[in-house]
């Protein structure tokens, strides 16, 4: 192998990379907040919601979990306009991520709800709370705390999976890498650098979520 590594392009192209990182971060921030919210709603619907809602949510969850994110993205970005729904690439990317994370976090949060000791529901009922009030005030927070590590991992997975939004020309970190390699023909270096950045983002995101978990759930779970 007589290939010479060359990273001189970094000086010229780092603004693209910074922009890409920011867009990736923006995508995951919006995706995580809305996705987990959607997940909480769906988990409530599947575990405790009205009977007519359960099969609808179940179908949504199964459809999303059993198809590739890339195809979900293409369907939203390329497919929906034929129904008259024209979306910008960032909006499409955001919607795809929210829908995707919503389905996964639904199942994770539902497991947390199902692990709630029965006594908690009974205690809520005995205090004359409605089923929804019990869920909202008694069950939800400990359930989220129980599955916070799994939920955090899923957020990281979705962040890494977001690299495919470059395929609908959303200008994320992967888009930047593609752009740079097409200009400099330094494909290997460009992808190496962006891979390392992704790795750092993943580690940072995981730690941020762990710290955040400590803030949201300051007390240890008692059984």
């Amino acid at each position: 192998m007589n290939y010479v590594f060359e990273f001189g392009w970094l000086a010229q192209y780092y603004p693209q990379i910074v922009k890409g990182v920011l867009i990736t971060l923006e995508l995951i921030a919006i995706g995580a907040v809305l996705g987990i919210s959607l997940g909480i709603f769906c988990a409530w619907a599947r575990a405790l919601g009205p009977a007519w809602l359960k099969p609808i949510v179940a179908t949504y969850v199964e459809l999303i979990r059993n198809t590739p994110f890339l195809i979900q993205l293409f369907f939203i970005f390329f497919g929906l306009p034929s129904l008259g729904l024209q979306l910008g690439e960032l909006t499409a990317a955001n919607i795809a991520m929210v829908i995707n994370l919503g389905a996964y976090s639904c199942e994770i949060i539902r497991a947390g709800i199902q692990a709630t000791p029965k006594g908690q529901f009974e205690a809520g009922a005995s205090l004359a709370m409605s089923r929804f009030e019990t869920f909202r005030h008694v069950v939800l927070v400990p359930s989220l705390q129980r599955i916070w590590p799994a939920l955090s991992s899923q957020v990281v997975i979705v962040m890494l999976g977001s690299s495919v939004v470059s395929q609908i020309a959303a200008e994320d970190l992967t888009f930047a890498a593609n752009f740079i390699q097409s200009r400099t023909f330094r494909a290997f270096e460009a992808y190496m650098v962006s891979t390392l950045i992704y790795l750092c983002l993943a580690v940072l995101l995981r730690q941020t979520l762990a710290v955040l978990g400590g803030f949201i759930f300051p007390r240890r779970l008692v059984r």
Partner: protein, 219 residues
């Protein structure tokens, strides 16, 4: 412009699905073999081996599969080899799958009670014998549901190989869309085909897990 019937579209997609299935199988089997090796390193007594496996897993789980595909595709090219897309796709997917399976299996091995290690050690078994006769047979049973569950991720992961130009179901979807200008129908069908491949796997994983839990409760 040639008119495509829905049947034409579906037929083309189904033909490409063969490659999705083949690539999934290769990745899963190859990933399983490499994953087993990684598992041995990960639970080895040697610190170096453990650290290597740990960082390998961290690296492959902490970076996008798409980047791994790009690096396999362009990186192998640096060695002067003209890399066909299928080779880069297979290689990257095998290495990626291995990192996840190794970690899943490590969880299963570690869930075996410490007393099993101690009892077999006190009977004079060496480490390999403990694994072979006492730990693995028990770990294998609990490893089946999550392993089947992960196979779904592998099938979905193959979709990314379309981006480096491997012609499987997703790539066929793009090609057919470009020919028919019916993205809604085409990507809808592509999604349904993936669903038909993945859902049985998801479902059987759930059923197997439920069975295992029932068996455990009866102990």
């Amino acid at each position: 412009m040639i008119e495509f019937s829905t049947w034409d579209i579906l037929r083309n997609l189904l033909l490409a699905t063969r490659w999705t299935i083949l690539l999934s199988l290769v990745s899963f089997v190859g990933g399983g073999a490499v994953g087993l090796l990684l598992l041995f390193l990960r639970i080895s007594k040697r610190k170096m081996a453990r650290a290597f496996a740990k960082y390998y897993i961290e690296l492959f789980q902490g970076t996008p599969l798409l980047m791994q595909l790009f690096i396999a595709f362009f990186g192998l090219g640096l060695f002067g080899v003209d890399v066909p897309a299928w080779l880069a796709a297979g290689l990257a997917l095998i290495l990626w799958t291995a990192s996840f399976l190794a970690e899943i299996w490590r969880g299963c091995v570690e869930s075996i009670a410490k007393g099993q290690w101690e009892a077999s050690a006190s009977l004079g078994m060496g480490r390999l014998q403990q694994m072979r006769y006492v730990i693995f047979p028990q770990a294998l049973k609990i490893a089946v549901p999550p392993t089947v569950g992960f196979s779904v991720q592998v099938v979905k992961g193959t979709a990314l190989t379309s981006i480096i130009g491997f012609v499987e179901l997703s790539k066929a979807g793009t090609v057919v869309t470009n020919a028919t200008f019916q993205p809604f129908v085409v990507y809808g069908l592509v999604a349904l085909i993936y669903f038909a491949l993945c859902w049985p796997l998801s479902k059987s994983s759930q059923i197997l897990e439920r069975k295992l839990n029932v068996a455990h409760r009866n102990h």
